[in-house]
Symmetry: C2
Subunit: 308 residues, 2 copies
């Protein structure tokens, strides 16, 4: 009997395979599994490849898998979930399937099912929490057009806007302007506009400008520093909404931070911590205890324990 934990995201899919007692046998990695963006065929190939690699490491076969927990982006609607169920029925025909969001498995991995929060800021952003009654709540995560405040995309977009404000006289000068021009070998702002409105411009590509803003802030650029401060404030706002919904204002609990915006910056982590603990004294920052695919394994193990 084996269980699988899967973290299927927009760029890569990671599967962890374990024995029923939770001992990890191996991991497998493959391409993106977001079927809304990549199409069904690619999603199925990625999931199959990640599962096979993880099981190969333990010389286990797919028929022996009894529970799969997959945290996937883009499976919010019932129809999406039915499609995923069909795919997994072929990959692991004898397994019970638990489908949840990537945010949920990240939370469970980060806190090991203990009450607490995870605040994720990568290309997008979301906050999710669990209280001592087992209730969960989320805030944010509505995507790059309508949300993702404090994400790499959001910070980069605002940084580019600040550079344009400096250019056309609406705002103070900032080194972001020059750094962006140099990074893309540009000679005019119009070239930047053409570049960023091209057909191949994705939120991820724009979020790729985040390190420039970070570098500018670390060199003391005031505009860039303010952007990071605002982003941290937005992420705290999302955390606070979750804390209030879960009635955890007066509790002591960990808040794990995850994603590229935090990972690449001590400054971002400390700014977030300062603003958060100023509002909720009992919230203390931690590194996630386990990665998301292990969070998914923990969920799978819980389900197995309940079933058995």
């Amino acid at each position: 009997m084996y269980i699988l934990g899967i973290d299927g995201g927009g760029t890569k899919t990671i599967c962890a395979a374990a024995r029923a007692d939770g001992e990890i046998l191996g991991r497998g990695m493959a391409g993106p599994a977001n079927y809304l963006k990549e199409g069904l065929y690619t999603a199925k190939m990625s999931l199959t490849e990640a599962v096979e690699k993880a099981l190969d490491a333990g010389k286990a076969d797919r028929e022996a898998v009894v529970v799969v927990c997959a945290g996937l982006a883009g499976v919010g609607r019932l129809n999406d979930r039915l499609i995923m169920k069909r795919i997994f029925a072929e990959i692991c025909p004898n397994a019970q399937l638990i489908l949840d969001t990537d945010a949920f498995i990240t939370l469970i991995g980060a806190t090991e099912y203990q009450p607490g929060l995870v605040v994720i800021s990568g290309t997008g952003s979301i906050a999710m929490g669990l209280n001592d009654k087992g209730e969960t709540a989320r805030a944010g995560g509505w995507g790059h057009i309508l949300g993702d405040e404090g994400s790499g995309y959001d910070i980069a977009r605002r940084g580019l806007m600040a550079a344009l404000h400096a250019h056309d006289g609406r705002g103070p000068e900032t080194v972001i302007r020059q750094k962006v021009m140099e990074q893309f070998y540009l000679t005019s702002v119009e070239e930047l506009i053409s570049l960023l409105y091209g057909a191949d411009t994705t939120p991820r590509r724009i979020a790729g400008i985040y390190p420039i803003i970070l570098e500018a802030a670390e060199e003391g650029d005031e505009v860039a520093g303010q952007l990071l401060e605002n982003a941290a404030t937005s992420l705290v706002q999302a955390a606070l909404a979750v804390i209030r919904k879960l009635k955890m204002e007066d509790k002591i609990f960990p808040v794990a931070v995850s994603g590229g915006v935090f990972r690449n910056s001590v400054k971002m982590c400390s700014t977030f911590q300062r603003i958060l603990t100023g509002k909720i004294a009992g919230a203390h920052l931690i590194e996630p205890r386990h990665p998301p695919e292990v969070g998914a394994l923990l969920v799978a193990r819980e389900a197995l324990a309940k079933a058995g």
Copy 2:
């Protein structure tokens, strides 16, 4: 001898035909002329149709046109301009062509070449001005990803974000939330997200939600009222940048407002006026004296006068 003024935008193209002395013979309207979005074939068809309809009204033919001024979106780069020159060489083979931005011809139409500004807020937004030395300056207009602050798109997007903040506990309740759900016959926020991230979601479509925000503000919704106040502040910020660049801070001059955001709302116009005149006492709001295609005609007539 005839002259043409053309306003070629993202949804429609309008051409005004006039005699050399400026007397308007007729107007013609056709589809969109933005070749970057619609393709060369559509752009050329739209321009040809608008020109022919305008000339037909005056029983004039295309060979007799001596100057064409076209204000077009999306002709910022040299290559775009060369392509447009080739198109117009076929439409009006004997005419001198003046290519400029849609903002510039709107400005000239609005102020009749007198010192002043135009602030345009429709799907996008931009401010442009002309001083008594004949210098021009602009601010804003960098498109929906990197700018267009205070535009219909920007207001609608922020309104949707406020509705989502109310939904997930990050912000105060607002009637925008219910109004949007009703407008689209939705039963859950997840459906709204699916709808707005669909492949056919354009900035224009999102900007179409602006009337909901306006209605909410007029009914006294505080969140919606604040969104309009912030939008007006952003548009004033763009106007101020232009005023400073043109050294008009101490002058008396008109500021014309244009575009759907202003046209549909006395509240928006009065808010903009209050914030602007609080900063620049000599700026007074006006309606544009002429529409953009007549602005283009004025530019064409100037060119003819200089040539002759």
